[in-house]
C-alpha cells in the first residue's frame, strides 16, 4: 500500500471518528439545561396570554426545527456547526462566530510560542543528554525534567507569579496588554510579548520536562543500533552521525508523543489562561460555562475536537514523512 492510500484511509477513518464524537456532542447539546425556545422568547412568556404564547411557542419551536425527529435535528445542527453558524451568544449578545476571533488568536499565539520554546530547548537538550548518557550533566537534567513534568502547571504558575511578578516584579501578573496603553506597531507587539512571558514560561516548563525525556530515550535506543556503528566506522564526523543518522530515526517515536502533547497543550492552556486571565479560548470556555452561555461552550468544544482530530491527521502525515518504512495496513 502506498503512502497516498494510507493517508486517504486514515482521513476517511478520522471523518468517521468525527461523526461519532459529534453525536456525543449533540447529546451534550441536548442535555444542556434550559429550553431553547423559552430562552429565545425571553420575557414574552409573562407578557402574553397563555394560549397566544402557546401558539407562538409552537411556531418558534417549528422554526427552530425542534419538532422534527432527533436524527434530522442532529443533521441540521451538524450542518450549522460545519458552516460556521455556531449560534447566538447570550453573554456577548451577538453571533458566536463574531466573538471567537480574538480569543482564538490569543490562544493560538500563546500555544505556538510555547511550542517554539519547548522544541528549541528540549530537542537539543534531549540529544545532548543522550550523547553524554549517565554523566553528571545527564543526571541533573534527568532530575530537573522529572520535577518539571510531575508538578502541575498551576503550581508552577503560582511559583512563577510569586518569584517573577511579586517578589521581583519583572513581568505583569495577568492580562494581555498594559491597561490604557495606546502603543501601536512594534511597541504593542513588545507589550504583548512582555505579558506573554509568564504564561509561556510556565507552559514550557512542563513541556520541556516531558519532551526532553522522550527525545533522550529515543536517541539512546537509536544510538545503540548497528547502523550508527557503521556510520562511525565509515569515519563520518560525530555531528553528522548524531544529527543526521541518529536523530532522523529518533524522530519517529518523538513525533507521536509531540502530537499528543500539542493537543494536550491546548487543553491544558485552559488552566493557564484562567490563572493569568489570558483572554483566550480556554477562558472563554470557562466564562461561558459560568454564565451558562452554551452556544459559546459548544463552539469551544468543537474547536478542541477539531484540533484533536487535526492532530491525528498531522501525526499520520508526519509519520509518512519521517519514516520511509510506513506501510501500515491498519
Amino acid at each position: 500500500m502506498g503512502k497516498g492510500r494510507y493517508l486517504l484511509k486514515r482521513l476517511i477513518y478520522i471523518v468517521f471518528v468525527f461523526f461519532i464524537i459529534s453525536i456525543l456532542m449533540f447529546w451534550i447539546y441536548k442535555s444542556m439545561p434550559g429550553d431553547p425556545v423559552d430562552i429565545m422568547l425571553g420575557s414574552s412568556k409573562t407578557t402574553m396570554k397563555p394560549d397566544a404564547y402557546q401558539l407562538l411557542y409552537e411556531k418558534t419551536r417549528a422554526s427552530l426545527g425542534l419538532d422534527k425527529p432527533l436524527p434530522i435535528q442532529y443533521f441540521a445542527w451538524m450542518g450549522n456547526m460545519l458552516t460556521g453558524h455556531f449560534g447566538y451568544s447570550t453573554q456577548y449578545k451577538q453571533e458566536v462566530v463574531n466573538v471567537i476571533g480574538a480569543p482564538m488568536f490569543n490562544t493560538v499565539l500563546l500555544n505556538l510560542l510555547t511550542m517554539f520554546v519547548v522544541f528549541v530547548i528540549s530537542i537539543p537538550l534531549g540529544i545532548a543528554t543522550a550523547v553524554r548518557k549517565n554523566g553528571a550533566f545527564d543526571k541533573s537534567v534527568q532530575v530537573l525534567t522529572i520535577v518539571g513534568y510531575s508538578i502541575p502547571t498551576f503550581i508552577i504558575a503560582l511559583l512563577a507569579i510569586f518569584l517573577l511578578a511579586v517578589k521581583f516584579p519583572i513581568f505583569p501578573i495577568s492580562g494581555v496588554r498594559t491597561a490604557g496603553s495606546t502603543a501601536t506597531g512594534l511597541a504593542a507587539i513588545g507589550d504583548m510579548l512582555w505579558h506573554m512571558a509568564l504564561p509561556v514560561l510556565v507552559m514550557s516548563i512542563s513541556g520541556i520536562g516531558g519532551i526532553t525525556r522522550y527525545v533522550r530515550a529515543a536517541m539512546i535506543d537509536v544510538l545503540r543500533m548497528d547502523y550508527i556503528k557503521t556510520a562511525r566506522a565509515k569515519g563520518l564526523r560525530e555531528k553528522t552521525v548524531i544529527y543526521v543518522h541518529a536523530f532522523r530515526n529518533a524522530l519517529i517515536p518523538v513525533v507521536t508523543v509531540t502530537t499528543w502533547w500539542v493537543v494536550g497543550l491546548f487543553g491544558g492552556s485552559i488552566v493557564i489562561e484562567s490563572v493569568f486571565l489570558w483572554p483566550g479560548l480556554g477562558k472563554m470556555l470557562i466564562d461561558g460555562l459560568l454564565q451558562r452561555d452554551f452556544a459559546v461552550v459548544l463552539t469551544m468544544q468543537m474547536f478542541y475536537v477539531v484540533l484533536s482530530l487535526a492532530g491525528n491527521v498531522i501525526m499520520d502525515i508526519a509519520y509518512t514523512m519521517v519514516d520511509p518504512r510506513v506501510r501500515l495496513d491498519g
Binding site: I21, I28, V147, S150, F162, A217, D221, S274
Partner: protein
C-alpha cells in the same frame, strides 16, 4: 507445558515468601533461578530514587488516611475572626517580662496584649493587621492601667482615664468620643470588640464608638448611668445594672433576650459567647441561656453554688470558683474549655479561643488555641486539617478513577488482543475515538453540565467516573500489545487444549503474566489522575467547596495579594501535591526500569 507454568508460579510464591521474611540477598548460583517477579522486586528495592518516592508517598498517604481521626474537621466550619492567620504556635507565648508583673492581659482574635505593672504594653501572636504594631509610646500615653484587644484593634486606658486605641482604624474605630479622649474620667471597664469599642465609667455611663452595624446598640430607658458591668459578643452587648439585673442593649428579641426571670436583681457577673450568655448569681450559681450548638449551656453540675466569676470566649466559658480553681465548658476544639486544675487564680480572662489566668502570685497561666500548624485560609479554616482531608479526597478520587480505567482497559485490551480480527478492529477504533476526545475541556464541560443538579457526594463520584471513563485507552493499548505477545506462548496452547474457556485463558492465564506492566501503568496513571483532579478542582469544575482537595485549596490563591501576603495558603498544598506527584512518577519510573532491564541502560 502446564507444569512449566505451575513451576513458574511456585517459584514466584517462594520468592514472595523470602521477600516477606527478610529479603536476604540471593546467593550467586540461585541468581539464575530467580523468578521474574523476584528480579523485579529486587532491582526495584535497590533503586534509591524509587524507594525514596515510595517512602515519601507512603508517609503522606498514611498521614492523610490516619491523621484525620486525631484531627477531626467540620467541613462547614467558618470563622471570620480567624481568617488568614499565619502558621505558627506563638499565640499563647506570654513574654517572660510579664510573669509575676502582670497588670492586665487580654485575648484578641489571633494575638494577645498584656500590660505590666509599669504600664508597658506587650503584644504577641500573629497580627491580622500591621497597624497593631504601632503601639503609642509611653511618653504619649502615660501609665496605662487597662487594655483590651478585639478582632484587629486594641483599646487602652491610662491612670487619668484617657483612652487610646491603635490597630485597625476603619469604621470610626479611631474616633474616640471627645470626653474620653481628654481624660479626667473614671473608666471602669473598656472592651475592644468586633469592629467596635466600648467603655464604661464609674458613674455607670457607657460609650461606644466604631461600627455598631452588627450590634445595633440601643439603650433602654434608665439604663445609662446605672451600669455596673457589660459584656459583648459579635451579636449583642448586654449590661449588668447596679441593681443586679441583666439588660440586653437591643430592641430585637433573640435567644439572648430570653433572660431567666428568676435571676434578675441577683446577678453579680455576666459573660457572653457568640451563641449564648451566662450569668452568675449571688449564691454562686451559673445560669445560661441562648443557643446550645457548641454546648455552651452545659454547665458542669458540680460547680453550681461555688462560682464567683465567669468569663466568655467565642464559644466557651471559664468560671472561677470560690476556692480559686477554674472550670471551663462549651466548645473544646482547641482545648480552650480544659482549664488547668490545681491552679488557684485571682482572675481569668477569656476571649476567642484562648484563656489567660492570673494566679495569686501574679504569674500568668494560659490554655486554648496556641496557633495553627499551617495557618488558616480566608474563611478562618485550619489549613492543616483541610490538607489532611483534602489529601484523602485527592487520593481517593485518583485511586478510584485509576481502578475504573484499569478495569476497562484490561477488559477491552484483553478481549481485543486475544480475539483479534473484527472484534479487535472494533474495540481499537473505540479506543481511538475515546483517546481523540479532548480530555480537559470534555471533563470541564461534563462536570459542569451533569454536575449542576446533583449533591456534593454525587458530584465527587461523577468526577471519578469521568476521569476513569476517559483515561482507559492507554492501558487498553498496552494490555492488547502484551496479550498479543503472550497468546502465542505454549501455556496458552496448553490451556486451550485442556478446554479452558476463552475468558479463563485471558484473565486467569495470560493476565498474571502481564500484571507487572499493568501495575506500572496504573501507578503512572494514578499520578495523572491526581493531577487532572487537582487541575479541575483548581479552576472550579472538580470537587467544590466545602469539600477540600489540594486543588481547590489553591483556588483562592490565584491573585498576587494572596501569593505575596499569605504564603502559607498556597505553599503547603502546592508542596504536598508536588511531592506526591513527583514521588509517584519516580515510583513508576523505578518500576518500569525494574521490569524492563533494557530501559535501565538508558
Amino acid at each position: 507445558m502446564l507444569n512449566n507454568k505451575k513451576r513458574k508460579r511456585s517459584t514466584a510464591a517462594i520468592a514472595a515468601q523470602r521477600m516477606a521474611l527478610g529479603g536476604l540477598p540471593q546467593q550467586e548460583e540461585e541468581e539464575v533461578l530467580q523468578s521474574p517477579l523476584q528480579m523485579v522486586v529486587g532491582s526495584f528495592v535497590r533503586d534509591k530514587i524509587a524507594m525514596t518516592g515510595v517512602i515519601l508517598f507512603s508517609f503522606i498517604f498514611l498521614c492523610c488516611i490516619f491523621l484525620p481521626i486525631f484531627f477531626p474537621i467540620d467541613l462547614y466550619y467558618q470563622d471570620v475572626t480567624q481568617a488568614n492567620v499565619a502558621s505558627g504556635f506563638g499565640m499563647l507565648s506570654v513574654p517572660s517580662q510579664l510573669q509575676g508583673n502582670v497588670q492586665d492581659i487580654t485575648v484578641g482574635s489571633s494575638f494577645s496584649v498584656g500590660l505590666d505593672k509599669n504600664g508597658n504594653v506587650y503584644e504577641w501572636g500573629t497580627f491580622p493587621n500591621n497597624k497593631l504594631k504601632n503601639i503609642p509610646s509611653t511618653s504619649e500615653t502615660g501609665k496605662l492601667v487597662q487594655v483590651s484587644a478585639g478582632l484587629d484593634h486594641v483599646v487602652a486606658v491610662n491612670e487619668d482615664g484617657q483612652i487610646f486605641t491603635w490597630g485597625n482604624d476603619r469604621m470610626g474605630l479611631a474616633t474616640i468620643p471627645m470626653e474620653l479622649r481628654s481624660g479626667g474620667n473614671n473608666i471602669k471597664q473598656i472592651l475592644a470588640g468586633y469592629q467596635i469599642s466600648l467603655a464604661l465609667t464609674e458613674e455607670g455611663r457607657m460609650y461606644n464608638w466604631g461600627s455598631d452595624y452588627l450590634l445595633s446598640i440601643t439603650y433602654p430607658e434608665g439604663v445609662q448611668g446605672n451600669i455596673e458591668k457589660f459584656a459583648a459578643s459579635t451579636n449583642i452587648v448586654m449590661v449588668l445594672t447596679k441593681d443586679g439585673e441583666v439588660v440586653p442593649l437591643t430592641n430585637k428579641p433573640s435567644a439572648y433576650t430570653n433572660i431567666p426571670e428568676e435571676i434578675q436583681g441577683n446577678v453579680v457577673d455576666l459573660a457572653l459567647t457568640d451563641e449564648c450568655a451566662a450569668a452568675v448569681t449571688a449564691d454562686g450559681r451559673v445560669y445560661t441561656w441562648g443557643n446550645n450548638i457548641k454546648k455552651g449551656l452545659n454547665v458542669p453540675e458540680d460547680i453550681q453554688g461555688q462560682v464567683v466569676a465567669v468569663s466568655g470566649g467565642r464559644y466557651h466559658f471559664t468560671a472561677v470558683l470560690k476556692d480559686g480553681t477554674m472550670r471551663g465548658w462549651g466548645d473544646n476544639t482547641h482545648g480552650q474549655a480544659s482549664a488547668p486544675s490545681g491552679v488557684t487564680v485571682s482572675s481569668v480572662e477569656s476571649g476567642y479561643y484562648a484563656n489567660y489566668a492570673i494566679t495569686q502570685d501574679g504569674s500568668v497561666t494560659s490554655w486554648g488555641l496556641k496557633g495553627y500548624l499551617m495557618g488558616t485560609d480566608d474563611l478562618g479554616r485550619d489549613l492543616f486539617r483541610r490538607m489532611l482531608v483534602g489529601g484523602r479526597m485527592t487520593m481517593t478520587v485518583g485511586a478510584i478513577a485509576v481502578v475504573i480505567s484499569t478495569i476497562i482497559g484490561i477488559v477491552v485490551g484483553g478481549i481485543s488482543g486475544y480475539k483479534g480480527g473484527k472484534v479487535d478492529n472494533l474495540l481499537m477504533r473505540l479506543t481511538e475515538i475515546v483517546s481523540s476526545i479532548p480530555f480537559l475541556p470534555f471533563c470541564i464541560i461534563l462536570s459542569s453540565i451533569l454536575g449542576n443538579s446533583i449533591s456534593e457526594t454525587q458530584r465527587i463520584i461523577l468526577i471519578m467516573c469521568i476521569l476513569g471513563l476517559l483515561s482507559w485507552p492507554g492501558i487498553a493499548r498496552l494490555v492488547r500489545g502484551s496479550v498479543l505477545a503472550e497468546r502465542e506462548q505454549e501455556f496458552v496452547t496448553a490451556a486451550k487444549a485442556l478446554g479452558v474457556k476463552e475468558f479463563g485463558i485471558i484473565f486467569r492465564h495470560i493476565l498474571p503474566n502481564i500484571i507487572t506492566v499493568i501495575i506500572v501503568n496504573a501507578t503512572l496513571n494514578f499520578a495523572t489522575c491526581m493531577l487532572t483532579e487537582s487541575s479541575l478542582s483548581f479552576i472550579g469544575f472538580g470537587v467544590t467547596e466545602p469539600n477540600a482537595t489540594w486543588g481547590n485549596m489553591l483556588t483562592g490563591a490565584q491573585n498576587g495579594q494572596v501569593i505575596e501576603n499569605y504564603w502559607w495558603r498556597w505553599v503547603f498544598p502546592a508542596l504536598m501535591l508536588g511531592i506526591c506527584t513527583i514521588s509517584i512518577n519516580c515510583i513508576g519510573d523505578g518500576l518500569r526500569d525494574a521490569i524492563d532491564p533494557k530501559s535501565k541502560e538508558r
